[in-house]
């Protein structure tokens, strides 16, 4: 199978290199033969990469531990879904997945555009094939997933923290996003080369763009969710380089999605849009690179290796090549209109773009600062989360404000009438929420204001930001209320207009309203989802409570109206780990809420024969005499402790299974969406004495719920739309006429 895989990957490389060459040659020669051949090359490469993926998966499923990839990321005892998912547990497999997704997407582009966009297609295929060739070169010569070693009976197994349902689907989701941006990028470059910088390139790829943006966003949320339920520190975002790597292309992609509307409606921002799509693609490549190269040390970068230089060259050439091409074509990208007023939709889009790109630039600077400072001064300087938070939260709040303003402010120049009509009610709703906070939390508000002035007097700007923090959550809620009010008002007016015009019932009117213009109304739903996410982030980070206490069984820990009793514990040996399972009861405000189980696990290193033997013996005793079984598992713990003292290498990999009680009861509205989150930090297998870390995270579930709303909105946006198709066809007809 490994020979087959090697062979398939090599042939795939040949096909895709041919596709790149033939597509380029076809722009010089006459006839369509070469272009046809290039397109077939793309399809063949796709089939061959699929074959390689199949060969590797076959190795995983059949426990072929002579393959290095299988040996490192799988083991006999690994459950089947994790064997399949282990494909993207390692670097070579991840790069193969990248190449696979790209080849599939390229094939779809080739198949759907065969008889369209004839002038641009050779260049589109050329760009796609070059990117594909790059990844296949990596897969063939630098990080081959089919490296073999000696015959081995069992593998090391996937890092236990990655054995999580969300971690299985998170990387492919993220990759769909990363890879997807290649398509609009390829169209953009083709448009530049062929000087067809009209509407076609972005209209044709609009759904690709939304699709990629959507998967990137959902992938980021899934990654946060995984961190939240798996890493046991009660949070979901730490400004880790790997997280930042996925956030940056999402930010520039968001900017692109918005500013391209200005090009579509007004013929403005053409250079800016090209720049954004180039940046987004480069950041997607950079993101893959950061995650995979370990160039910036990160707690959860699961890979380190030698692909760095290749990536750096590819990235550098792509970025500078594209920007030079852009500069050569500046004459074709003249704006057809100009900004008329600071108070206009055009301006609000411009400002939202500045902030999104500004945040992306800040994140890029702070993330790569260790590299920059080392190159400049020879000293590595790292930037921690407080810096990211201080700089980014105010801009995120400003963006939230623009989410409310952008869709409703008038084009060209907002009039007083436009303001009265659209913003008076939402503005009052937002203001009222803010006043409510000041009334409820009067003392905190007064302290914060006086803190700001005291710091200002001392010219201590850091202190000013410390004091302003108090206002972030209420400001966020007020802005959220403002945005929700604008959207509700829009829906209400839209429905009312349809009811008057066509005499439809409210539900029919609502459904048809959305269906007839999916992009607009889907966009509103996406905005609502974003608002809900913001609420979740603001509340859960500002009002979170935390405690750590060590207790014996039957002991109790109290925190923020909760009481948790430690009922007892049991030991277990399952799959490939031993676990100390703690059983706790939770009371919320005096009412019994739930019984939870939180585990601390240890995955013994099966390469120690005696450890393996003890583990297998304990497993066979499972379900038998409980006393003997517990003693057998305790024996494993004793053995691991003894080996740790003498082995000089890793004896076990620890992991934790947190327990979470979610409150959705309307009986306690102040706790709606709240999590009671328990992590056992250390459990003594003999006495049961345990160290519990407990978090109360208010409204944290809004974050995940907001993600769900985003899914609905984005799905609406990518649905085929008759209106969109007509516009694209019209643009193509104009283009054909001009060409003829």
């Amino acid at each position: 199978m490994s020979t087959l895989g090697h062979f398939a990957l090599f042939l795939a490389l040949a096909c895709s290199a041919w596709a790149a060459t033939a597509a380029w040659l076809s722009t010089i020669s006459k006839g369509r033969g070469l272009q046809r051949s290039a397109e077939r090359g793309v399809l063949a490469a796709c089939a061959l990469v699929a074959l390689a993926v199949f060969a590797l998966e076959y190795g995983f499923v059949t426990n072929d531990f002579s393959l290095d990839a299988v040996y490192h990321y799988s083991s006999v005892n690994q459950p089947l879904p994790y064997k399949i998912g282990a494909l993207w547990g390692g670097q070579a497999g991840s790069l193969l997945l990248w190449a696979f997704i790209l080849s599939c997407m390229s094939s779809i582009v080739v198949l759907t555009n065969r008889n369209k966009n004839r002038a641009m297609m050779p260049w589109i295929v050329h760009v796609l094939a070059i990117v594909m060739t790059f990844f296949l070169v990596l897969n063939n010569f630098i990080a081959s997933p089919f490296e073999t070693g000696p015959l081995r009976a069992d593998g090391v197994g996937l890092n236990p923290q990655l054995k999580n349902y969300w971690m299985m689907i998170h990387p492919p989701t993220l990759y769909l996003g990363y890879v997807g941006f290649t398509i609009p990028f390829a169209f953009g470059i083709a448009a530049l080369v062929t000087r067809r910088t009209g509407d076609i390139w972005f209209r044709t790829t609009r759904r690709w763009t939304i699709f990629s943006w959507f998967f990137l966003g959902i992938g980021i949320l899934m990654g946060s969710f995984w961190a939240y339920i798996e890493l046991g520190w009660g949070g979901y975002w730490a400004w880790d380089p790997v997280e930042n790597a996925s956030l940056m292309p999402w930010l520039t992609g968001t900017a692109f999605l918005h500013s391209v509307i200005l090009q579509e409606k007004k013929g403005m921002m053409k250079v800016w849009n090209m720049t954004l799509i180039i940046l987004t693609f480069c950041l997607a490549i950079f993101g893959t690179f950061l995650t995979r190269s370990g160039i910036i040390s990160s707690v959860h970068s699961f890979a380190t290796s030698n692909i760095g230089p290749a990536f750096a060259w590819f990235l550098g050439i792509t970025l500078f090549g594209s920007l030079i091409l852009l500069v050569l074509r500046l004459d074709d990208l003249k704006s057809e209109a100009r900004m008329e007023s600071v108070l206009s939709r055009e301006a609000s889009f411009l400002f939202n773009n500045m902030m999104l790109v500004g945040i992306a630039a800040t994140v890029l600077l702070l993330t790569t600062f260790p590299l920059i400072s080392e190159a400049a001064t020879g000293r590595k300087v790292t930037m921690g989360p407080p810096i990211f938070n201080l700089v980014n939260i105010p801009w995120a709040l400003t963006l939230l404000f623009l989410v409310g303003v952008g869709p409703l402010i008038a084009w060209r120049k907002a009039t007083a009438e436009n303001f009265r009509r659209n913003f008076v009610i939402p503005g009052l709703v937002g203001l009222w929420s803010l006043v409510l906070f000041v009334v409820l939390e009067g003392q905190a508000a007064i302290d914060a204001v006086s803190g700001i002035f005291r710091s200002l007097v001392r010219a201590d700007f850091g202190g000013v930001f410390d004091s302003i923090k108090t206002f972030y959550p209420p400001l966020c809620f007020a802005l959220a209320a403002f945005v929700v009010a604008t959207v509700v008002l829009e829906f209400y007016r839209g429905v009312r207009a349809r009811r008057h015009q066509y005499g439809e019932g409210p539900l029919t009117a609502f459904g048809l309203l959305v269906w007839r213009n999916k992009r607009r109304w889907g966009g509103y739903v996406v905005h609502l989802g974003f608002v809900v996410v913001c609420i979740g982030v603001a509340a859960s980070s500002a009002y979170r409570k935390e405690t750590v206490e060590m207790i014996e069984p039957k002991g109790t820990i109290k925190i923020d109206g909760y009481a948790m009793t430690y009922d007892g514990y049991r030991l277990d040996a399952i799959d490939d780990y031993v676990a100390a399972v703690t059983e706790v009861s939770v009371w919320q405000d005096g009412r019994f809420a739930a019984r939870l189980e939180a585990e601390q696990r240890a995955h013994p290193n099966m390469l120690f024969p005696e450890l393996r033997e003890a583990f297998v013996r304990a497993k066979t005793m499972r379900g038998g005499d409980p006393g003997a079984y517990t003693a057998a598992v305790q024996g494993i713990y004793t053995l691991m402790a003894r080996l740790e003292g003498q082995a000089g290498r890793e004896v076990k990999t620890p992991s934790t299974e947190v327990a979470i009680h979610k409150s959705f009861s309307l009986a306690a509205p102040q706790r709606f969406g709240e999590d009671f989150y328990v992590t056992p930090l250390g459990v003594d297998p003999f006495t049961g004495q345990a160290n519990f870390r407990i978090f109360v995270n208010p409204m944290v579930n809004f974050l995940w719920f907001g993600g769900f709303v985003l899914v609905i909105g984005a799905t609406l946006c990518v649905f085929p739309d008759a209106r969109e198709r007509r516009r694209l066809e019209a643009a193509m007809a104009i283009d054909e006429r001009e060409a003829a």
Binding site: G358, L390, G462, R649, P654
Partner: protein, 143 residues
């Protein structure tokens, strides 16, 4: 340049200037997460510089001394290339992955008594089991 354009330029420059200003403020704050990233060797050789440090090294096996409350630990880290060592005191949440020989990053600075007082402790377990014994080798070398 007409008035309208000037307005846009002023607002745009204002946004950029504010961002830069906030970056400067954030990095100047003493608790702001700005830290020098050094190895144990660099830290011990370069004297007693001011500021916060993130020192990376390996946990010297056998030096981990956990306090009974489970939230304090004393240990020694050594340079990855050998040589320098640094005693560390840490109070806080001790990660699961903190074991002998683990790669760690401690953040803080040295106290007057020469012990490094860490406020955060990141640990990454040696990711490959076979790191010392060679792929698939018997760890005890008995067969």
């Amino acid at each position: 340049m007409d008035g309208r354009r000037i307005k846009f330029v002023v607002i745009g420059l204002g946004i950029v200037a504010t961002m830069v200003f906030m970056l400067v403020v954030a990095t100047q704050k003493s608790d702001g997460g700005f830290a020098y990233y050094v190895s144990v060797k660099e830290f011990t050789e370069k004297g007693e510089p001011k500021g916060r440090f993130r020192v990376n090294g390996k946990v010297e096996p056998g030096t981990i001394e956990r306090m009974p409350d489970g939230r304090q630990v004393k240990f020694t880290i050594k340079d990855k290339d050998g040589g320098a060592t640094l005693p560390v005191d840490f109070a806080g949440i001790i990660p699961d992955t903190f074991v002998d020989d683990a790669d760690v990053v401690v953040e803080g600075n040295r106290r007057a008594d020469g012990v490094f007082e860490a406020t955060t402790l990141l640990a990454k377990c040696p990711s490959k089991y076979e790191a010392t014994g060679g792929a698939g080798a018997d760890p005890n070398g008995t067969n």
